[in-house]
Subunit: 437 residues, 2 copies
């Protein structure tokens, strides 16, 4: 296993060379500009815990607390012309340099982690904490990271909601080894709290709390969702029962063919409804929460009107985004019940009946209330969506995008979209199989 | 109005003659047998509050508290050969005599209504209480009774759950006149308590409590349902807004023709499911609660499995009984979700997965639990009923009757049943219109 995940001597050398020369170049540039600045390699590359084949470098540009971050950003822009600007809590530059993806992140150099000005200022402290303690256990971290990847729970971005690299490092420090992490995780349940330095002041009731040793009020596992935590626990239990290299390297699913899409729909006899539109031009961490919020608003609309959903999911491919709703009930009777006010509220009863002039049956009384039966406005889920989707409030960037245009694909129409990323999403959606027992 | 509901002088004379000679004959029969017995005319005939055309006589055979009711029953049997035996709290005889339907009911003569041995012993007290106070207001009672009939809320039998004759009499005594009852009832809401003698000890929280003046612990309106109480209140309000003779004499609905049944089903796009079987040979007051209980068990079964019901009802016609379920959702996707135990309960997870070997999707984790998607056992409501109805516990007399054989009519098959009573039931079911505002 380790052979496949551990960087070779050549790879290590190359990373060291590239990063050393880059740090040197940046500090020279700073000196030219009269800028007091310390360039630091941080993250897994700095700690010797990067997975073979990864070509990511995190370089922080540390300034005094009085300095202006904009000057550092300006400098970062000048490092490479092959760059994009990104925005997390502060703006930073993502550049392609010598075959590496380099994040150039301005930050303040703070004396004490309790005086942070922003989240990125914390990273140098993480670097120092782990850098001091991890030597000798880098391989354990590599195994754990690859296991997290292989079981689909690696990455603290909001799209994934899984484990960050720093969290993996802390777990190894906490339990001692990859095997010990697996053994412990196989018994995890929500509400677990890990505190390496025994000084936690974390108040949240996240499913897993790992107190940040450099900032005792912060939960390192705050982005980890309940389901991803338990997916890891289940995979750990399953790995202990039958260790296998497949846990580390999951075979990727092939895109579904037209025939496979047709077969899935036929064997399930559900109705898939796919709402597709242009993905707004924002980073994933902004887009995904909005997609999830839209998903749950649309589910609520459908369920409020009497339809029922087997499962749903969201995806992006190319410049498109889509919500998939797999319907369990997508057609209702034309007649529907409308419950009115209690019979003794004469005024309300009068207004209720005036508002429902076209009655199929009724008015009658049920459990003290006036009831009429009338024609349902939308007897099919597709009609309801087509009529009410543009009016729903679906999030700051999503609403305008959907108002600009969207398309609903129903049933077999799903195969009208030929994109491979989309079809892999469909393959994963319909399989939805995880290592549980 | 009164002309139509008030018995003519000839009708009154005939009722008096028949009842006087009957009382005389019964007491002679008793004397021949050496039986100490007092025959009494009770009920509306005794109080002058029967509706024109009614030919019911209630004759009570009063015995000393030490005597044996069986002797009185034996005597009742000898009064007429055209008779049936019935059973309420005690057995009694129903006979056809000189064109009248006569109930011959043995009872004890009790000094004080607080020492009753059974419910029937109370009737002579009611007779005395009303008989003393009603003279001069018989016409008001007749109007109220006919109004209750015309608006579908007359009768305290469990099939109806409406107003008894005695309750109508007490309402007139309480409010003073028919018009005053209507005026008061138009403002009724649940929780109302009426206590003519101001000595009530009624604890129940029935929607309407009318303390029995001869037995202060009893609610005369105990059998009245919330919906029938409010149906009367709504009709009263509606009558005040626009008085009309139709309130007293509702035009009876005609049986639905085949074409009309077809049209109703088509305009509603619901699926009616009718479960039909032999009505067990028990009185209505035993049968109807069981039919209602069966209705709600079957509704619960269907809803538990994901189907949805617009409305349902029960009926009897000839020697048949039937449950009508009008489905809003009667077909579900083949795929369905099964939620298992929390992921950390390893043994339960193992057993859950072993019990669901044929998986369409999953296992995956949702909100901390293991979930699989598999084939649904019954994707249609009719299949579910056909499979599970015989196994349901549907009441003492109904279960054996249904196990002996039943038939499910779906959609247009409803017109396969040609019975007129059944088709009037369908007409009423599909109209379900009451005078509300």
């Amino acid at each position: 296993m380790l052979e496949r995940v551990k960087p070779s001597a050549a790879e290590r050398k190359r990373l060291q060379d590239v990063s050393a020369s880059l740090l040197c170049r940046i500090e020279n540039l700073a000196r030219e500009r009269g800028l007091e600045l310390r360039a630091m390699l941080v993250g897994s590359a700095a700690r010797g815990t990067w997975l073979a084949g990864d070509h990511d470098l995190d370089i922080f540009l540390g300034l005094d607390e009085e300095a202006d971050l904009d000057a550092a950003l300006e400098l970062a822009r000048s490092v490479s012309s092959d760059r994009r600007e990104k925005y997390a809590e502060h703006p930073y530059v993502q550049a392609r340099i010598d075959g590496f993806d380099v994040d150039l992140v301005p930050c303040y150099l703070v004396d004490d982690a309790s005086h942070l000005r922003s989240a990125v200022d914390r990273t140098p402290f993480h670097n120092r904490y782990v850098g001091k303690r991890i030597p000798g256990r880098e391989d354990e971290v590599l195994l754990l990271k690859q296991f997290l990847k292989g079981t689909g729970v690696y990455g603290s971005e909001l799209r994934v909601g899984g484990f960050s690299g720093y969290l993996a490092e802390l777990l190894v420090l906490c339990y001692g080894s990859f095997a010990a992490v697996i053994q412990a995780a196989s018994l995890w349940r929500p509400g677990l709290k890990l505190d390496l330095e025994g000084q936690g002041r974390v108040e949240q009731d996240d499913p897993l709390v790992v107190v940040d040793p450099v900032d005792p009020g912060r939960n390192v596992a705050a982005a980890l969702t309940l389901d991803k935590m338990l997916q890891f626990a289940a995979a750990a239990r399953s790995f202990m029962a039958g260790p296998d290299i497949d846990f580390f390297f999951a075979a990727p699913l092939a895109p579904l063919s037209d025939r496979e899409i047709e077969a899935r729909i036929e064997e399930r006899e559900t109705l898939p409804l796919l709402i597709e539109f242009a993905a707004p031009d924002v980073v994933e961490d902004v887009l995904y929460p909005q997609l999830r919020k839209a998903e749950s608003s649309i589910r609520a609309l459908l369920e409020r009107k009497g339809f029922s959903i087997l499962r749903s999911d969201v995806c992006t491919y190319g410049d498109r985004a889509a919500l998939l709703l797999e319907m369990e009930v997508w057609q209702l009777s034309r007649a529907c019940r409308r419950e009115g006010p209690p019979v003794w509220q004469a005024d309300h009863v009068y207004r209720f009946l005036a508002a429902h002039p076209q009655i199929l049956s009724g008015p009658y009384i049920k459990e003290g209330r006036v009831v009429v039966e009338e024609e349902r406005r939308y007897a099919s889920a597709a009609d309801l969506l087509a009529a009410e989707l543009p009016g729903l409030s679906l999030g700051r960037h999503l609403s305008p995008s959907i108002r600009c245009g969207y398309k609903i694909y129903m049933g077999q129409d799903l195969s009208a979209i030929r994109d491979d990323v989309y079809r892999i999403f469909l393959a994963e959606y319909y399989q939805a199989r995880f290592r549980i027992a």
